[in-house]
Amino acid sequence: MTKERGGSIIFLAAGLYGLVFSLGLPMGRWNEPGPGVFPLAISILLCLSGILWFIRGGKGGETSVIAVRQGFLQQYTTVIRIVGLTALFIGLLEPLGYLVTSILYLFALFFWVSRYRVWSAAAMAVACGAGSWLFFEKLLTTPLPKGLWPL
């Protein structure tokens, strides 16, 4: 798949989504445009841009950058791991609290992505997690989720 086509898919998808949902909004009249007019117009333009880039992508577009083939997952392992771990962090942040979640998150990143040894990863995770908690919670007085441990 060419870069142009990759982009066109995103634009088309967003444009179609906008088109479908903005048609359900009031359009108003010319002297009182409703809330649906602007998103509808933009969605149509997005769809047209997407079609334009899809066509252009088929005419000598740049070489593939996202190759959906065997080994696809291996090529983007690091990115997938980071995204997955971050999603887990978001899910566990409020139930477990910031301190525990940040230490677990950092440990997973240091060990599984940065490839540090277990004890090094654990030590850095505890130091950085606790340090960041002190910095944000105590120094900047940022309200952070307490979760299971009301510190």
Binding site: G7, A14, G18, N31, P35, I90, C128, S132
Partner: protein, 502 residues
């Protein structure tokens, strides 16, 4: 005389211990984020927004502005010493700056970069002092049709001056405009694209979008590259340039100031564009242009001056018109709105103490930065010795907690991550993310101006060409659009191809 009195009053406020401290913190943090690849001024500003909640508006904007122009200074350090741009505006400094380091002239390059930045920044502030109030007074007469016309031409310029072709930038603008409509319609109260999620009723948070697209997106891209590089040491005595280098740098510094100041007024990646434009000009004017790329001081002096001048002049449309022309000023706008300060035509007249103390603090900040970036440059170089595989988890954590701290919302964290993945994808697909971000923040103003204009004119589109200002701007917009179509269809000229390659 009024201006002088206002400036003196501004200095009186800015020279308080508290504000000097905040200016120092902003400049220090800005230099650090400029030095560290993977985290730029946008993330740097967003991360400190929660820290400003207990401050007054003056102190908050002094600190946040310090981060913004401080990052321009810091970005040159890694470009020169490691051939890694710490900030996107310093990309072109790598070309000759690193070559100077390899020849043992890294210290001189750092000095000239800091010196040029100081001159460009200071002259930029003088321009800001004169032009921002003038522009604000002019814009007070603007109604919805004029605002619509100004924003329309701003978007077309954004498309023209963004990275890549006009027709590659425009879909990103459309996408940003669509995302900007999420939330409650301010004119009718109707909910748009919220799907019953209460956290979206106030619109999609700009900070998670910007931090995600720029912060997390940048990290995901950087983890694909090896960042194990040698860090060249620089001793204090090596900082002084030779007489020839000083003499050779004056012309580029003066020209860079002019180029950067003018381009900074335009929307888009002004500080990036200004550094490239300055480099191109210096190469064209050089007696031996073939030497560029081998360690010419002009290749450092011009671009670094230009990007600092651009960062100051970008404050003119931001403060005078309320139009942020880049992602970093857009985040500053959010921060100011949180403090109840709305940049725009009425800002300078209604809150002169905030504006003039900001101007005064910029003079102070430029002095602080030259001290931080020259004799204390060794401290920042040590930051670069921290391996990236330790830094990036910390940066990710900071992005997450910085976003959570604004509204304590996990929905915004989901938006952050989603935009991070989108930012990564767009980088891979070579679509510019900055126009997307700008369109989210300016889009609602454009829509409101359009709808209000039609309401005033009872549905007649003639209102958009009724006044001389709107007629001229709409005509210019049309001409720019035609020019962009022509530019896309005609073959690229040699200098355009060469600039792309560099």
């Amino acid at each position: 005389m009024d201006m002088l009195n206002n400036l003196l009053e501004g200095f009186r406020i800015a020279l308080s211990l508290k504000n000097i401290y905040l200016c120092f913190i902003g400049c220090l943090w800005g230099t650090m984020v400029g030095v560290l690849p993977g985290i730029g001024p946008l993330a740097g500003i967003a991360l400190l927004i929660p820290a400003t909640f207990g401050m007054d508006a003056t102190g908050a904007i002094i600190m946040l502005s310090g981060i913004y122009y401080g990052a321009m200074y810091g970005g040159s350090t890694t470009s020169i010493l490691m051939n890694i741009p710490g900030e996107s505006a310093s990309v072109v400094t790598c070309i000759d700056g690193y070559q100077m380091t390899r020849k043992g002239r890294g210290g001189a390059a750092l000095f000239i970069a800091a010196w040029g930045s100081w001159i460009g920044g200071t002259l930029g502030i003088i321009g800001l002092m004169f032009l921002a109030p003038f522009l604000a007074n002019f814009a007070v007469k603007f109604g919805p049709p004029e605002m619509f016309a100004v924003l329309l031409i701003a978007f077309i310029l954004l498309g023209s001056l963004g990275k890549g072709s006009f027709f590659k930038t425009v879909p990103m603008i459309f996408l940003g405009l669509l995302v900007g409509t999420i939330g409650m319609d301010p004119l009718t109260g109707a909910m748009r694209f919220t799907h019953g999620i209460k956290d979206l009723y106030d619109g999609i948070g700009f900070i998670p979008v910007a931090m995600g697209a720029f912060g997390i997106g940048e990290i995901l891209t950087s983890t694909e590259e090896s960042l194990v590089r040698a860090v060249h040491k620089v001793k204090l005595r090596e900082l002084l340039p030779s007489r020839e280098e000083l003499r050779a740098s004056w012309g580029p510094i003066i020209r860079g100031t002019g180029i950067g100041f003018f381009i900074g007024l335009l929307p888009g990646s002004a500080h990036v564009l200004s550094s490239f434009a300055s480099y191109t000009v210096e190469k064209r004017l050089a007696k031996r242009p073939e030497e560029f790329g081998t360690g010419r001081i002009e290749g450092v002096a011009g671009p670094e001056t230009a990007n600092n001048a651009a960062s100051q002049s970008a404050m003119i449309p931001f403060l005078g018109l309320g139009i942020p022309t880049g992602p970093a000023t857009a985040v500053m706008m959010i921060a100011l709105l949180i403090h109840g300060v709305r940049p725009g035509p009425l800002f300078i007249s209604e809150q002169p103490q905030v504006f003039w103390s900001l101007v005064a603090s910029m003079y102070i900040g430029n002095v602080i930065l030259i001290i931080l970036n020259l004799p204390l440059v060794g401290i920042f170089i040590n930051l670069l010795r921290v391996p990236f595989r330790i830094l990036f988890p910390l940066i990710l954590l900071i992005c997450l907690i910085g976003t959570y701290a604004v509204n304590s919302s996990t929905v915004e964290l989901v938006i952050l991550l989603t935009c991070g993945v989108m930012g990564y994808l767009f980088r891979k697909l070579e679509f510019d993310v900055a126009p997307f971000i700008l369109a989210i923040i300016i889009g609602p103003t454009l829509e409101n101006a359009f709808r209000w204009s039609l309401m005033r004119s009872a549905g007649s589109f003639a209102i958009f060409v009724h006044s001389p200002i709107t007629a001229v701007l709409i005509t210019l917009s049309g001409l720019l659009l035609i020019w962009n179509v022509y530019r896309t269809l005609r073959p690229k000229r040699d200098w355009e191809r060469a600039l792309e390659e560099e």
